[in-house]
Amino acid sequence: MSNNGNGRTNGSPRIGVYICHCGINIAAKVDVERVTRFAETLPGVVVSKEYKFMCSDPGQELIQKDIREHDLNRIVVASCSPLMHEETFRKATANAGLNPFYFQMANIREHVSWVTKDKDLGTEKAKALVAGAVRRVSLHQALEKKRVDVHPDVLIVGGGIAGIHAALTIANSGRKVLLVEREPTIGGHMAMFDKTFPTLDCAACILTPKMSQVKDHPNITLWSYSEVTKVDGFAGNFTIQVTRKPRYVNEDECVGCMLCIDSCVYKQARVDDEFNQGLSKRKPIYIPFPQATPPVVVIDPETCMQLSKGKCKQLCAEACEKHAIDFNQKEEVIEVQAGAIILATGFKTFNPMRIPEYGYGRYLNVYTSLEVERLVNASGPTGGEVVLRDGSKPKSIAIIHCVGSRDHKTNKYCSRVCCMYSLKLAHLMKERSNAEVYNFYIDMRTPGKGYEEFYDKLLEEGTHFIRGRVAEVTDWALTDAEEGKMIVRVEDTLVGMPRRIPVDMVILSVGLEAQPDADDVRRLFGVSCSKQGWFTERHPKLAPVSTATDGVFLAGACQGPKDIPDTVAQAGAAAAEALAMIDKGFVELEPNTAFIDEEVCSGCKSCIPMCPYTAIKRDDEKKVAVINEALCKGCGTCVATCPSGAAQQNLFLDEQIYEEIEGVLNYV
């Protein structure tokens, strides 16, 4: 196969090949020396060298020195995945004055040494991949990255503490933010909590000021009760469609006086209050909680007489002096532009009905930890008093850890926050009710600043800590003392004896799970997620808030279980990444767009319907296809479709791929 001789090939290839040991990561399963000697024999190879760490500065300098000394015009590095270090080596190549696209990488770590048991077989595989890369790079051409201007606004999806913190950080830098929240108010889970560990400061006291800052910030547009329904475009220039659900109340008029709520035809509240986890009731017209932001009421169309039955005295509308209530409000679909997107969609708590042994839903006084957060909250259903469903005070309380965590039947992972919030709840329960509190844990995990000290404090307070996973919460009594109580069956593993502990109240420390619609959200934004539904970061250590999709960043628990300090830190990081991209003003696009060789094109139009971005048109005068480079995203589908080979893709030319195929197969 010959190169197409358009002057971009830089003369006959003089190739430098560099094989990386990656410490012992590669060298343990690949005989690097043998691969290096093998590469020397390949056509066009002038230099072949091995080095401990190619990505290190001396490694990169080695390449640059050779380019100058040996007049190299093609570089191959066999090391880790190109998704890891392709950019590093392209830069190294460019720094020596060579076009960065005269570079090709062979992945002999992730695809060879880490997945192959036998060193000889690993070495063979590495040789094949190096041969493929060498043959491919011979046909590489000089290319330029295209620059595209970046839209300066940022979209943040989710108004929990992560979204709030990211929004404020960006807005404070002077950039504009659109914050979209699905619920009628921002605040997320944190707004439901009573106290925060380990300092025990009140969640509302530290959160609500930030919520009102969001509301009042000139650079923040807050759309609550809204969802993103479509995303187009790419890094720097996203077009986003937001659907605003009707709340049947004019947001601009409502002042949050709540007179409408008092005057609703429902004199008694009878709908389960979502914010209080169903522990109290609300009316069809309601405000989730007193500090809700925006402080605007909302009408639930399912239970409102007017909206569900079409018949009501509409006393609420009468009561409103601002005439804010509008039963004819319709869903609104709005299109906005943004340069970067931060996903902060949070988590949901595990539903303990999935573990019937723990009696949730069967025994009245088995609560989830989130319910208890509301129960101990001064603005909660009982005004902060710890009472059971029948109004009595519990004398003994069991807190069961790891419910829906570390369990192969539900979630394999550790939810990370439960140990600490269980300690917090244990403290609060003891303080408020003076009951005996038993913590049942598998392992106590307190790795955070001040966390172990908090555990010490609980131990001092006389809370019982029983190391053992509870098998069952039941009500069959064996002794008189157990009659009428719930009995926790557990092995006290430190003592080595099964125990039965009668209690009045059981708190299930439920784990954190991905949002049920995480899969839809991830498709919408083109990011990937783990099997459990957590969004996947670009790199677990070095790019923890970026995603595989440029311009989309992650903050908070949507990426994995996280406590508040970590969430806020990550939100700040995501904001900084988004700002870095926007302040740069442009993004560089990988030059892998498709083009048409007009000489060859017969104008058959096969490619036109194949393009998902309608980037291809037919020039009726010349009778050939024309690709709009600005619209092309570089998938190459048109190239694979073209019957004559006129359509080609930069970086992935047919002939380059054929060379690679031949290389990996016939390398010896």
């Binding site: 019937p356 042994e357 069952e472 039941t474 009500d475 069959w476 064996l478």
Partner: protein, 293 residues
């Protein structure tokens, strides 16, 4: 559909009434069955402890016999297995054959040398599974002539019917038996000991342990106001019923309560005679109280 019937050793001995009542009930419901010819011991619990591979061989012979006997019909072979222990062992053997390629080859070789072959075409079903998921509760209602109105039944499933291989019911809180008996008019107990172990063979070997396990179950059922306990396993029935006198002596507390097979209750509701249902074999006599007629 004709089911192949695998009674197991116990249903020919202490569990005779289970065998009799189940067959009578199925006849009344029009469920055809045919006993597997020359079946052998399933290889249950006690055998498993001595020699696992041979236990699987025992189970496999039964499966192979069933397959050979059932295949000519050209339909899938379904083996009805009323005894909990047999049900578990047959399922366990199937699972082993599916998952363990090496074990499978070994067994296949052994079967072959005995002139047998098993291709894995048998599905093992418990009668409760058939009643609920094949016949349906409506069919049961239809056949009910003496509804068990007002009879408070504690359904006791035992361990091995739901754990660990069966999939037809919830492992923690099974409901199939409750549904069957409720369809026939009975009131069933919501209680937490439905699947707690009765002691198994321990009532024979270490009576002080085995009896206590049974005692706990009986006491709880009684405390919750049950008129009768319904079981689905010959060993459970035996343990719960036959040692009640000994329990009174051992624990100083009377826990006299009738313990029957669920199929016997079904038979009563369907108007079958006591003889047909083997009611005379009970140690603690049971009659559907007049009030519930």
């Amino acid at each position: 559909m004709t089911y192949l019937y695998y009674p197991g050793c116990s249903l020919k001995g202490t569990g005779k009434a289970y065998d009799e009542s189940l067959l009578a009930v199925m006849k009344k419901l029009g469920v055809e069955q045919q006993e597997i010819d020359d079946w052998n011991c399933c290889g249950a619990t006690a055998y498993m402890a001595v020699d696992q591979d041979r236990a699987y061989a025992l189970a496999s012979r039964n499966l192979a016999l069933a397959e050979a006997q059932g295949r000519p019909n050209g339909k899938p072979v379904e083996v009805l297995t009323p005894c909990n222990a047999c049900y578990l062992v047959l399922l366990k053997a199937q699972k082993r054959l599916e998952e363990d390629a090496l074990g499978k080859r070994k067994l296949a070789g052994a079967l072959e040398s005995a002139g047998l072959n098993y291709e894995g075409k048998v599905s093992v079903r418990h009668p409760l599974d058939i009643f609920v998921n094949e016949l349906g509760l409506d069919a049961l209602k239809e056949k009910t002539v003496n509804p068990l109105n007002g009879l408070k039944v504690a359904c006791y499933y035992g361990c091995q019917i739901v754990r660990p291989y069966s999939t037809f019911d919830d492992q923690y809180d099974p409901v199939a038996m409750d549904q069957v008996l409720e369809a026939m008019g009975a009131e069933t107990l919501k209680w937490p000991l439905k699947t707690r172990c009765c002691g198994g063979s321990m009532t024979g070997t270490i009576p002080e342990v085995g009896m206590r396990l049974s005692f706990i179950i009986l006491k709880e059922a009684k405390k919750r106001g049950a008129d009768v306990i319904a079981t689905a396993c010959p060993l459970c029935q035996f343990n719960l019923e036959c040692y009640q006198n000994e329990m009174r002596e051992e624990f100083g507390e009377a826990v006299d309560i009738p313990v029957v097979y669920f199929s016997q209750l079904m038979g009563k509701a369907m108007g079958l005679s006591d003889r047909e249902l083997g009611m005379q074999r009970l140690f603690v006599p049971f009659a559907v109280p007049a009030a519930s007629k």
